[in-house]
């Protein structure tokens, strides 16, 4: 079983004993032991999952590491959060996924419930409306710009999230895309918050303190 630990808030160590670990391509910064790295476009999913990804644009650029030793991962100084799964599903924005291993099965899922129309809209805007799912028992690591925040969702308290700040969620949650398009959006006076992801049910949503694609 690969062992995950955080060296500091921005660096992840994974100890391998012959297993295979999938991580964001280019995120390896150092390793010891006998480890082989190879590109992998789909992680631990089959041909169908691969086709789904190329259609939805939820691309993951992964590499696999296999062998015995210790690998250190970091990505552009982003913060790393370790998440423990016990026979459940984690939904992650693919850009925020840093590392996982073969104990978890990966897939792709649409976030909204707007049917085909919503799906097309999601594909057109391309901003995280499809997520990567990881299912099983084991660890995974996500990256966030600034530290990550876990917001609890309860039946009494649905949460609305900016899609560009969303990094993942878990639990019994339904997600919806809600649009807030008024007349002001049409005369160029948009508040910049025209659509959001709405989560209802019982679970946890993870967000970061920055919006992807923002100017730095």
């Amino acid at each position: 079983m690969p062992q995950y630990s955080l060296i500091n808030s921005k660096m992840l160590s994974i100890k391998l004993h012959g297993e295979e670990v999938y991580a964001k391509r280019g995120s390896m910064i150092a390793y010891t032991g006998q480890v082989d790295f190879a590109p992998s476009s789909s992680g631990s999913e089959g041909l169908g999952g691969r086709a789904m990804r190329s259609v939805t644009g939820e691309q993951m650029s992964l590499m696999s590491a296999r062998g015995t030793g210790e690998v250190l991962y970091a990505f552009y100084g982003l913060h790393v959060t370790l998440i423990q799964l016990s026979e459940e599903t984690f939904f992650a924005e693919s850009e925020s996924l840093l590392a996982y291993d073969g104990r978890l099965r990966s897939g792709t899922q649409f976030m909204g419930s707007g049917g085909m129309q919503g799906m097309l809209r999601g594909a057109a805007t391309g901003s995280g409306l499809f997520t990567t799912t990881l299912e099983g028992a084991g660890e995974l690591a996500i990256v966030s710009d600034g530290d990550s925040f876990a917001l609890d969702v309860t039946h009494e308290r649905p949460i609305f999230v900016d899609p560009q700040a969303y990094i993942g969620h878990r639990g019994q949650l339904q997600s919806n895309i809600v649009t807030d398009v008024g007349w002001k959006s049409f005369v160029g006076q948009s508040s910049g918050e025209s659509y959001q992801l709405k989560f209802t049910g019982l679970g946890t949503v993870y967000i970061q303190a920055a919006e992807r694609g923002g100017n730095r």
């Binding site: 710009d145 600034g146 530290d147 925040f149 917001l151 308290r157 649905p158 949460i159 609305f160 999230v161 900016d162 700040a165 807030d180 008024g182 002001k184 006076q189 948009s190 508040s191 910049g192 918050e193 949503v205 967000i207 970061q208 303190a209 920055a210 919006e211 923002g214 100017n215 730095r216």
Partner: protein, 206 residues
Amino acid sequence: MTRFRLESSRLLEVELRNERVMTRAGAMVAYDGQIKFEKSILGGEGLFGALKRRVGGEGFDLMTTSGTGRVYIAQNAAEILLVPLQNEKIFIESSSLLAFDDGMRSNTVFAGLRGASSGQGLFTTTVEGTGNVAAISDGTAIVLEVTPSEPLFVDPDAFIGFKGNIRQEFIFDVNWKTMIGQSSGESYQLKFTGQGIVYIQPSERR
């Protein structure tokens, strides 16, 4: 009055009970409850203020956030500086302004020849009254005290804001070396004299 709380150094939580805050457009990352976001056409400063800002090239937009619930606000993973005001006035470099209570008065004032070369606006935003103001800072903000006996010099690109009885002026340090391209990179500074507090960030805006 609205309640501002730092969920962490980079995430601001604002609790609203049928109230309004002004926030930088697009800075909302999550919320619960019944909240509405609208671009504030006039930025809460009336037509003249909006016009001045347009002319002054203050390249930032505000939105009004109103309703009942909790709003989480963040910007580029920058650290957040919370300044509670008690019937005071704060001057903030507008690209650093993140959020403030709608009950306060805000205005755009001429701040001198700022940014002739640094590319910043010619105006600074003032917020006046009682309530909370949040600003962003690239790195943890530094609070410096200014006393009548000790004026303070600040790089305009690191300046966030100031409050108190302070006078601000521009100092140019241009000599023959600057002219032949041997500038130290610190050719002009902001000089603060009086009694008060100046906020700076440990980073220079690009």
